[in-house]
Symmetry: C2
Subunit: 429 residues, 2 copies
């Protein structure tokens, strides 16, 4: 049986999971594709390091030996980080090798350049594992939804924040308690900033938006808010009002431009994403012909990520061995363009004002909302202790971000209303 | 730009939706594949019939003209039914044309033969739309999960029954009321037998099991129970006990054989399939590397089904125009073999005994359960009227189908226990 050699760069969690997968299920590839996959070389920093599942005689120092090996047509970059990974991918593409990566941080910075380079070199740069781990969302968008115009994508694309929000909601824990629990469970990093502040999510949704709409989206231009400010009271009030807090990464096609955002949102309990618990990920896609569909599963971890990489290996092997001249998976060049300005997007909102107990507060709040054209849907306030600030919760009808932001600034400028007051968006079905 | 001609056979709901899709979004194909898709001929029974969206000058009577047209490399069979559709597909394959079908009834009868024929002829027979309409479950199983060993598939694969069960559960309607509502909404046929008795579901899960496990599964050998006997009381009790009734199509690899079943099951509220409401479909897949993942969306209707057909068109066009010699999508020959005997499968059960009010009933029920090695987990009974039969609900620990069936036969043979007594399986996470 024919063999295809692949070179692995990086042998951490994902790299060693991929190796195990190919050992355990190589038979499936052989049966389906008529080809045996052989992990010919594994590039690592330190070839002497003790490793579990370390196949003997395949480790090489660094990656240059792999790039130089003419018998290796596929390089799998699993080193992570940005600098070395960028060098690995660039060198491999320049050597006309197909590349598979799981590195969304890298792609969100250099994807536009690297996809162009791959196209120019006549090879493919595959990245199924870079968004939502094992959920096959890239293939779904690019192949299964090919006949559809994508209207909107909503995703829970970060397992850390979903785990934290689930614990806060189901067990009335504070953000700090839930974060510590996530850390002890291995679902959060020691420095959780990239996750809890929505940066990881904005990188992933930018990649999804880019392939869905064909316009390159730079994650640094995405409105991105995290979950670290959400309080137990807010979670509990949302629950009482029939909503669940989720960190939602959204991409929508509005007036010929992509609107791309990441923020904690209130979803009604019957929203398909409201049921996604713990460290799971899910992506909800709305299109013109299929309508809405949802893809859910494990968004991180060695074995799920290896599953996605293996699917890319299968696609590439098909092209190499079976001689397709396909340019299907060479992304067409991305259009360059502006994002839709998020100030112009409309949402319903949940305002949480922290107010003193004095006359005039209600008049100020309701007056400023009215002046900004914001219509109140319902109001909730319960005094627990008249000597302390109180929580005033207001749900309002749809208004633009610009209106909500201006009203908030005006209201918190008034006496007796704390600037810790906040608003959250509500996403209805 | 290069053109690829396709021939459509059948121009009903799905056929006309596909035509509209290619009109509306043909641009996407052109951009992604570098090819224009042209619907060159449309075979129908009556070319004179008035049709909305009928493109002039393309209708031909029957399908022979399409098969004979050497310029048409792809035939899309959307006539439905079994006999004519079988002739269309066979003739097209014999003429070395690629075929796309959405016809699961046909495939479940003749799939094994037709896939072999396609393989022999060196062409492809694609069928994404045949299971769960627009949900890309075939591509996911065959391509995205290629690196995984599939352990279990659980699906809500029939929209009619899910709509009926949702109405029964959420609005306390009877089966007959909910069925009439489904019919008036267009979610159920005038003769609903194929749907409500689980036959449609058994055809779909047999196809999924065949591709997941590589062994051909004949749906006529699948244990298949419908939902028409479920009563309002049973639905309400299940709800009270924390469960939702769903018609579950299941395929599992047990001791080297596929176990394939269709029956109404009780799912705990937190099961991902419990949240699938109305006419929606969803498939839950458990594999060795990815773990569990869920794919949900519209399982029927013209536009969603057309979306799936379009994805097959994209795959085929890539192969034809871009010259792949791929045999990726020619299924390897299915193994022939037996199913795992369902009498040997273990479940937890919900027993519903309808009993007279007399001494000895409890002794009989609990005695026969014990003799058959079935351990009681909880018991619920509430007399509403002592002069009438009462409902005795018993939840039990796992036992084999054989044990549950034998206990049920012995118990209902006793005096005072109605043979309308039933049991349902409980599927925990």
């Amino acid at each position: 049986m024919e063999r295809v050699k692949i070179g692995l760069v990086g042998f951490g969690t994902v790299g060693s999971s991929l190796y195990q997968l190919l050992e355990a299920n190589g038979q499936r590839f052989a049966r389906r594709l008529g080809v045996r996959i052989e992990v010919a070389k594994i590039g690592v920093k330190d070839t002497k390091k003790k490793r579990p599942f370390a196949p003997p005689g395949r480790f090489v120092q660094g990656y240059s030996e792999i790039i130089a090996d003419a018998e290796i047509p596929i390089v799998v970059e699993l080193v992570g980080g940005v600098d070395v990974a960028h060098d690995v991918i660039r060198s491999a593409l320049l050597a006309r090798k197909h590349v598979i990566t799981a590195n969304k941080a890298l792609l969100s910075l250099y994807g536009n350049e690297l996809f162009r380079l791959a196209r120019r070199q006549g090879v493919e740069l595959k990245f199924e594992a870079s968004v939502c781990g094992g959920i096959p969302i890239i293939k779904v968008i690019r192949e299964s939804l090919l006949g559809n115009r994508i209207k909107r994508i909503l995703g829970i694309v970060n397992g850390t924040t979903n785990y934290i929000l689930t614990r806060m909601s189901e067990e009335a824990k504070s953000f700090q308690e839930a974060l510590r629990e996530a850390q002890s469970q291995g679902f959060a990093e020691t420095d959780p900033t990239l996750d809890v502040e929505g940066i990881d999510a904005s990188q992933k949704i930018s990649l999804l938006a880019s392939i869905a709409f064909g316009q390159w989206v730079d994650y640094r231009q995405v409105l991105s808010e995290g979950i670290s400010g959400i309080t137990e009271k807010e979670i509990q009030f949302a629950k009482f009002a029939g909503f669940t807090f989720k960190l939602i990464a959204a991409a929508e096609w509005l007036d010929g431009r992509p609107a791309v955002t990441v923020f904690p949102a209130l979803l009604p309990q019957e929203h398909p994403l409201a049921a996604i618990r713990g460290e799971n990920n899910a992506v909800y896609v709305d299109t013109d012909f299929l309508g809405t569909s949802v893809y859910a599963g494990k968004g991180a971890g060695g074995p799920p990520t290896a599953s996605a990489v293996a699917s890319d290996v299968g696609d590439l092997v098909q092209h190499i061995v079976l001689g397709s001249k396909s340019n299907r998976d060479k992304l067409e060049p991305f259009l360059q363009g502006e994002l839709y300005p998020h100030q112009e997007i409309s949402y319903r909102y949940f305002f949480h004002f922290i107010t003193a107990n004095r006359p005039g507060i209600w008049a100020t709040v309701t007056g400023r909302l009215a002046e900004n054209g914001i219509n109140i849907e319902s109001v909730h306030q319960k005094w627990e202790d008249k000597s302390k600030p109180s929580d005033l919760y207001i749900l309002v009808d749809p208004a633009k971000e610009r209106q909500a932001g201006k009203a908030m600034r005006e209201i918190t400028a008034a006496e007796g209303i704390s600037d810790r007051s906040v608003f959250y968006r509500i996403l209805l079905l």
